[in-house]
């Protein structure tokens, strides 16, 4: 195949990946929120090893490729126990990896860095394997096999750039990377489609391979289960191993936990992801068998590419190539990102903190991605076709599985101790290196054969305790995991469980300042918002969580030391919290008491004022009643004592008597009106013609005006209102009587409509109200002209009860004005405030 076409296709595909990621960061964000994108992103599990290696494995070993996919199916069925719990923990503590969890759970300073360093060492060859798959496929299609040209280097650099651009925009790695997830989901779709198409076309053109197998007895064992106990043990071990790898691989933790946007997506993923694995494995056996039948001398790992070429279909071979590339690139990008987070959070950030260079952590994380990629490339170049690379897929799985005892026991067993976890992990690493890693290097010729044989037959790396018959991976897996588990359990049982970690407490202000220095103003603002109502201990915990997500848990703890102090011990803390709670309750009780005391005092003052007002009212009423009563009595006595008075004299006294009686009557009426107001008689609203009402008031006071020689004038606009007619009339009469009492020659009543209110003005040309009395004119019993002193007071209360205002205007004479709303909206009886 034309190498230029291949190269162009490869780089066009990588360019397409960038576009898809950009779409995910922009308008395609809704796609990333879909549970299907989450499910497809989980398929980053299926690497080039799946795409090409499964067919190779099926062609050589039969069904042993299947447990690698049955294991994840089993683990995902347990999502309510595993993933849901992990998601909850990750959200609460901003976990970015299993190493974060181990540090959080056990609080041992060595666990995080040890796990991180071990995973980097264990997974580098696995990354190299992906680069090799791309290079090997490229070379195969262009028709060359040696030497491996450097197509892997530009690919690795481009993928590093991709991971840096879409995975390290910000310091906080626990934030979601929509572009990255969409690109990974897209790649999962491409590799599934490519493999199904290749399988479909091969079957369509070549037909069913199984009848042909009958004529090839050497192929029949591929269709039978592995024989004997060792075969069964290998099958079961591989299933458990792949299940654990699915759970503990850094890239799987990243896509399934860190990038999860909604825990409910697991409902779909729990069945759709196993279905994906089932589909991608459907064409594997037919392709393997046709490969063996048609290309017995070919490399089984390349059957996926070779069979389309054998059929003469170059486009299909190109599609298969792109499928393999997509499987490799997705894994490389996510794994390198996950490893760079491990490196920066657990290995680099404590060093940077020591050298006061924590501000450059993001730069170091980007450098880590590049370094991981270049190291993987270097490993691939050095190892080439060596066993150390070919076998590294499963050896990496065994390395990752060493986190399982500490991780799972840490999740589900309270008795697990830091010493147990550390002992188990160390033991597992040692056995892994002794039984798998070092023999692989020795088999590649990089180490002497001693590492294959061991110092004693009982200590043979691939046959500990004299065990024979197991394949090296199963042997290494069972030996390392057994020792790891035994140490984790045993040491935990024999060590005392200590308090997880000393708890710290601090002031929100200082913690916020620290977050601003390390993470920037956005993190500070977010912290202030969340920590507003938190006590010091919880605020310190929140700050630690926010820091841990970005700089790693160990560095976060070190950073917090400068702005926090040790929280009181558990027992003491309970007492302190109890005392604080009681103190808070006491303060709240005291505050409530103080408020009640104030209310009582105010009520008492009001009552006292009312009582005083009542006394004053009684005194004023008595005084007001006494004056006319005295006059009436005196006049009556004069008339009784002087029967011989002239008719003229008698008439004058009787007239005076009638006048005083009328004054008494008016006084009693006003007092009755006042008591009605106080009693809170409700309003009697009705549609009222205010002009007619004003004319009626004028007519009622006309005799009095005529008697006093006062001219009544009026200017009345036609105004309709929904109001209490009697109260308005009472107000008008009070104001007109008051005006007539003070006027020299003229009283004028005006009615106008302004601002949806009726405005009445009553003007008299009298001497006006003295300045010192203006503030008191509406107070009860404040008479300056011999009136009852209740008229204006009642007028004010009545107007206010109708929703209006009353005031005394400035100017010549005296002008009282009041307004009335055209419709009384509120119900105020006027019974006092």
């Amino acid at each position: 195949m034309n190498p230029l076409l291949l190269l162009l296709s490869l780089f066009l595909y990588l360019g397409l990946l960038f576009l898809v990621a950009l779409l995910g960061e922009g308008r395609g964000r809704f796609l990333v929120q879909s549970p299907w994108a989450y499910t497809l992103s989980l398929a980053v599990y299926a690497t080039a090893w799946t795409f090409m290696g499964s067919v190779g494995r099926a062609a050589m070993e039969g069904a042993s490729f299947l447990p690698i996919y049955l294991g994840p199916t089993l683990v995902l069925l347990l999502w309510p126990f595993l993933h849901e719990k992990l998601l909850s923990l990750a959200r609460a503590h901003r976990l970015t990896s299993w190493a974060d969890f181990l540090y959080l759970r056990f609080g041992h300073g060595l666990l995080g860095p040890l796990a991180a360093a071990f995973l980097v060492v264990g997974l580098l060859p696995y990354l190299a394997l992906q680069l090799k798959a791309i290079a090997q496929a490229f070379l195969f299609l262009r028709g060359e096999e040696e030497p491996l040209t450097d197509i892997a280097l530009p690919t690795a650099l481009l993928l590093a750039l991709f991971a840096i651009l879409f995975g390290t925009r910000r310091l906080d790695p626990s934030e979601r990377h929509q572009g990255l997830v969409l690109a990974v989901a897209f790649e999962s779709f491409v590799k599934l489609l490519a493999l199904l198409l290749v399988g479909g076309v091969v079957l369509w053109q070549l037909g069913n391979p199984f009848p042909r197998v009958q004529g090839h007895p050497e192929l029949l064992p591929l269709l039978l289960p592995q024989e004997g106990l060792t075969g069964y043990l290998e099958w079961a071990s591989l299933m458990v191993l792949s299940g654990l790898a699915f759970l503990f691989l850094p890239r799987q933790f990243h896509v399934s936990v860190v990038e999860n946007t909604d825990p409910r997506h697991l409902h779909l993923a729990a069945w759709a992801f196993p279905l994906y694995l089932l589909f991608i494995n459907l064409p594997v056996l037919p392709l393997a068998l046709w490969g063996r039948l048609l290309l017995p001398e070919g490399n089984p790992d390349l059957y996926v590419l070779a069979l389309p070429l054998e059929l003469g279909s170059a486009p299909l071979a190109l599609l298969a190539f792109l499928g393999g590339v997509s499987a490799a690139t997705a894994m490389v990008v996510v794994e390198s990102l996950a490893l760079s987070i491990l490196i920066s959070n657990h290995l680099l950030s404590p060093l940077l903190l020591r050298f006061r260079a924590l501000g450059s952590l993001l730069l170091w994380r980007r450098i880590s991605i590049l370094a991981v990629m270049l190291l993987a490339y270097l490993y691939f170049r050095l190892a080439g076709e060596a066993y150390a690379l070919v076998a590294m897929g499963l050896i990496s799985f065994v390395a990752v599985a060493q986190l399982a005892p500490a991780g799972l026991l840490g999740l589900f067993w309270k008795g697990a101790t830091p010493q147990g976890a550390l002992a188990g992990l160390l033991g597992g690493i040692v056995i892994w290196a002794y039984t798998l890693f070092l023999p692989a290097l020795a088999r590649s010729g990089w180490l002497p054969s001693f590492f294959l044989e061991g110092p004693h037959p009982l200590l043979s790396p691939e046959g500990l305790l004299g065990i024979r018959g197991l394949d090296p991976v199963t042997h290494g897996f069972l030996a390392s995991l057994t020792l790891n588990l035994a140490l984790t359990l045993g040491v935990s049982l024999f060590t005392r469980r200590e308090a997880l970690q000393e708890e710290r407490t601090g002031e929100v202000e200082e913690l916020a300042a620290l977050l601003r220095r390390v993470l920037g103003p956005e993190a500070e603002e977010s912290f202030r918002h969340q920590a507003r109502a938190l006590p010091g201990r919880e605020a310190a915990g929140l700050a630690e969580t926010l820091l841990a997500g970005s700089v790693g848990p160990a560095t976060a703890k070190l950073l917090l030391l400068s702005v926090t102090r040790e929280a009181p011990p558990e027992a003491l803390r309970e007492e302190v919290e109890e005392a604080a709670r009681e103190s808070r309750e006491l303060r709240a009780y005291a505050q409530a008491l103080e408020e009640a005391r104030k209310e009582l005092a105010e009520a008492y003052e009001r009552l006292k004022a009312l009582d005083q007002a009542k006394d004053e009212l009684l005194a004023a009423v008595s005084h007001e009643l006494k004056t006319p009563l005295t006059a009436v009595r005196a006049l009556a006595e004069i008339l009784e004592a002087n029967p011989d008075l002239s008719e003229e004299e008698r008439g004058r006294f009787v007239s005076l008597l009638a006048k005083e009686t009328a004054r008494l009557s008016r006084l009693v009426e006003e007092i009755l009106a006042y008591t009605r107001l106080q009693a809170g008689v409700p309003l009697a609203r009705s549609p009222t013609d205010l002009r007619a009402l004003a004319e009626e008031a004028l007519a009622l006071v006309e005799p009095l005006a005529r008697e006093r020689g006062i001219t009544m004038e009026s200017h009345l606009a036609g105004v309709q209102a929904l109001t209490d007619r009697d109260r308005v009339l009472q107000v008008l009469l009070n104001l007109l009587h008051n005006a007539l009492r003070h006027a020299r020659s003229r009283v004028r009543l005006e009615l106008t409509l302004t601002n949806r209110e009726a405005l009445f003005r009553v003007f008299d040309d009298g001497p006006g109200v003295p300045p010192q009395a203006r503030a008191l004119v509406f107070e009860p019993f404040q008479s300056f002209s011999g009136g009852t002193g209740l008229g204006l007071f009642l007028a004010r209360r009545l107007v206010e009860s109708l929703g209006g205002r009353i005031w005394l205007e400035e100017g010549e004479g005296a002008t009282f004005a009041f307004t009335l709303p055209l419709e009384v909206e509120h119900e105020d009886s006027g019974g006092g405030r």
Binding site: A63, L74, L78, W79, L224, P225, M239, L278
Partner: protein, 58 residues
């Protein structure tokens, strides 16, 4: 949900770890297809179907 998912896990574990060699005497069975793979893909498909029925929420 936890109980049902654990029960399905046990069923899947039983199906996937069942010693098929005891019941698969020959490499090719009816219709010329290999019974080992028919069993494995069939039980895998059954587990997926049960998971769909158990976990799927419309």
């Amino acid at each position: 949900m936890k109980e049902r998912s654990f029960a399905l896990f046990l069923l899947a574990l039983f199906l996937f770890l069942f010693p098929v060699s005891l019941v698969v005497p020959s490499p090719l069975g009816p219709w010329g297809l290999p019974p080992l793979y028919l069993y494995l893909y069939g039980s895998w498909g059954l587990v997926v179907l049960l998971a769909l029925l158990l976990f799927h929420r419309p």
